[in-house]
Symmetry: C2
């Protein structure tokens, strides 16, 4: 498969209202995360991982929280997360789509 | 800067009708590529790079060409490119936005 249509990507249901679809190479993973459980009154709990992360806001609006700062992000905006750094988001709209990229790949997202 | 608004990202003009905006960590780069020169009657020349690549189609429609195959991709669709593999795209709409992610980072996209 040289490419994949969104609707043909395998879907992992994170929970009833959050879905994840991934594509990856040896050291690079792209994860489309679709949220349908917003808006939220407070952020998700902070989390961290050894993987470096860059994210594109494809749909919706979020607050991105890291290092005691927060920023309101809309479609087209981006954020980056160094290895091991705690970070969190809060959904500001009913739905949102984040395009999260990671290196190395998130083995916990496969299989 | 913990995150960046699209309109505050530094813009690199690839040419008069193609713009690139990047954000990156140590080993991971996200490049927003905005095309305004479509549609095209034939593909861009194939190119390759040692960097692994995954791409999200954020806007518009393209043909993605690799390994003698082609696929029509729309918003939400994705493709991946292994290290060193020649690939090409052809714009099918007047405008398109690709979110290209690379590891390692594209030093040629910086400074």
């Amino acid at each position: 498969m040289i490419a994949q249509k969104y609707h043909e990507l395998p879907v992992f249901e994170i929970n009833e209202e959050r879905e994840r679809r991934v594509i990856y190479t040896d050291h690079l993973m792209l994860a489309i995360i679709d949220f349908a459980d917003g808006p939220h009154t407070e952020p998700d709990p902070p989390h961290s991982h050894p993987h470096e992360q860059v994210t594109y806001i494809a749909e919706g609006e979020i607050l991105f929280i890291m290092d005691g700062q927060q920023m309101h992000l809309c479609q087209g905006d981006v954020f980056s997360v160094p290895s091991g750094k705690p970070h969190s988001i809060q959904l500001l709209t009913p739905r949102a789509r984040l395009v999260d990229c990671f290196t190395p790949i998130r083995e916990d997202f496969i299989g």
